[in-house]
């Protein structure tokens, strides 16, 4: 065989693998077509064809905007921001110890406490804050407190999960060096681990606050206070000009909170 007698053809997959791949794509397309048929079986097409006219109608009722409604909205808006902020503080305060129990490298008992901590995190994450609010309004009555607690409970899972992952990713050599000095368990946490997770901690908290501003705007829909209450009232009375003002106000608040959170995170990291 000469030195130049190498194959000229190279293919990533064998013919058999290619056939399997194409069959896979075919099945996916078939599944999509079938799902579409199931999905549209109960659609009343008269309403769908009517949609552009209905949208234009609501749009025209939103105009002109009812700017006189703004002063009345400022207090509920302030409530909403307070629900988000206090809820975030409460959630972070509860998530902090739970994260240390859940992280593999800091948990005091991998057999009992770690599964409990992980369960709390999963439970908190699996329930939407609107559903938390629904439950809490029934338990502690309508108002701001229900909203704050709902936001806090929902935040535990998010903050706890990201924080315990940050704890597990810390540099073990720095921790080992602190251990080697004869430091106690709490001292190892406060000198070896906490300095390493501080940027993650602040980043996660500010990010969650930003999310909570958005979530707390709808909590009023189920009676948990804030601007959502006003939104619900305006929709019920078909005052589309007021609804439009509320939506614009929420949009403005979210944009401002995103800006603040981006600034803060950049300053910390």
């Amino acid at each position: 065989m000469t030195a130049h007698d190498y194959p000229e053809v190279w293919q990533r997959r064998t013919p058999r693998a290619r056939l399997v791949q194409w069959m896979g794509w075919l099945c996916l397309v078939a599944l999509f077509v079938w799902c579409w048929q199931v999905m549209t079986a109960n659609t009343i097409w008269a309403f769908v064809t009517d949609a552009p006219r209905q949208a234009a109608d609501i749009g025209s009722r939103m105009w002109p905007l009812e700017w006189g409604y703004v002063p009345e909205l400022l207090l509920p808006l302030w409530d909403t921001i307070n629900i988000a902020t206090l809820g975030t503080i409460g959630g972070v305060a509860m998530a902090f110890p739970i994260a240390f129990l859940a992280a593999r490298n800091t948990t005091p008992s991998a057999m009992i406490l770690r599964p409990i901590a992980l369960f709390i995190i999963v439970a908190s994450r699996s329930i939407n804050s609107l559903i938390w609010a629904l439950l809490l309004v029934a338990i502690i009555g309508p108002g701001l407190l229900a909203g704050i607690v709902a936001i806090a409970l929902r935040s535990i899972g998010f903050v706890g999960k990201l924080l315990y992952e940050a704890i597990e990713e810390t540099d073990a050599r720095q921790v080992e060096a602190v251990e080697a000095t004869g430091a106690s368990g709490l001292q190892v946490l406060s000198y070896g681990i906490i300095p390493q997770i501080m940027p993650a901690f602040w980043g996660i908290s500010v990010f969650r606050w930003d999310i909570n501003i958005r979530e707390s705007t709808i909590l009023g829909l189920v009676g948990a206070g804030g601007i959502g209450l006003k939104l619900n009232a305006s929709i019920n009375t078909l005052s589309w000009d007021e609804v439009a003002v509320i939506l614009l106000l929420i949009l403005g608040t979210v944009v401002v909170s995103e800006w603040v959170s981006a600034k803060l995170r950049r300053a910390i990291i």
Binding site: D171, R173, Q174, E176, A177, V178, E179, A180, T181, G182, A183, S184, L186, Q187, S190, Y191, G192, P195, Q196, M198, P199
Partner: protein, 273 residues
């Protein structure tokens, strides 16, 4: 004085990292531990302060057997052993001063360490050590703002802040350039000589070990295969430790490097004029 008696370590994977190591380090001795990668050098020094749990054997420091201590007593005994790490292992986001003071953690209650309210004597010790390693003006810098050589000097100050009776040094120069390596080795050996502190230095650079150590122990596959003065480290002894290799070429390479360094220094001086 440190005495190891029949120290063995077998990892959970079944790999025997140390087999029956018996060794005595007298007061004030500067001992180098050499050997190929995987010979068990790191395991040996980590078994002494039990960052790695030994499988069997005794680790006797003074009159305490460290290998059989419970958790709380081990913490108290660890204060007697300072450790300097490869790649420094400083807490990067804390200041130089906090890193040096962390050497006192075993002596102060939790609330004092949390609030950074250390006793006046500890603070004085920390400043004195920073002055000794030449970093007095960097006390409030964050550790990650320092160069490699400076970080390792903070590591030295942290270990000495413990006022240890034994110093363990794990590859102190592995990530430093040749010139800084020599400075760091000189600093460690000088300080240990000043204090009569026994020290075990884990080192893979044979010429550096011969230059600075009083005694050299060679480890191969977890067993001691050489124990003697640096001058006794002949070609035959090196072959015993590392396996066959052209040792004269390596030594020649080292002298060439030293010449090149000296040459570079002369050129820099000439440029400065």
């Amino acid at each position: 004085m440190l005495h190891l008696d029949g120290l063995s370590k077998t990892y959970a994977t079944g790999e025997a990292a140390l087999s029956d190591v018996t060794l005595t380090v007298p007061q004030g001795q500067i001992m180098g531990l050499i050997g190929p990668s995987g010979a068990g050098k790191s395991t040996l020094i980590r078994c002494i302060n039990r960052l790695v749990e030994p499988s069997s054997g005794k680790v006797i420091l003074g009159d305490v057997d460290l290998a059989r201590l419970g958790k709380a007593e081990l913490r108290r005994q660890r204060r007697r052993i300072g450790m300097i790490f490869q790649e420094y292992a400083l807490v990067e986001r804390l200041t130089v001063m906090e890193n040096v003071l962390s050497g006192r953690l075993g002596y102060v209650p939790f609330w004092r360490s949390l609030l950074r309210k250390y006793p006046a004597r500890d603070i004085q010790t920390a400043y004195r050590l920073l002055d000794r390693v030449g970093l007095m003006n960097r006390a409030d810098s964050r550790a990650d703002a320092l160069s490699g050589g400076q970080r390792q000097r903070v590591g030295i100050a942290r270990a000495l802040a413990q006022e240890p009776e034994l110093l363990l040094v794990d590859e102190p120069t592995a990530s430093l350039d040749p010139k800084t390596s020599r400075q760091i080795m000189r600093l460690i050996t000088e300080i240990c000589a000043e204090r009569g502190l026994p020290v075990i230095v884990n080192i893979h650079d044979v010429p550096l070990a011969q230059q600075f150590m009083q005694r050299i122990v060679g480890l191969r596959a977890g067993r001691i295969v050489f124990d003697g003065a640096p001058a006794d480290l002949t070609e035959a002894a090196l072959t015993e430790i590392y396996g066959a290799e052209d040792w004269n070429a390596m030594r020649q390479g080292d002298s060439e490097q030293a010449e090149a360094e000296a040459d570079a220094a002369r050129r820099l001086e000439a440029l400065a004029k």
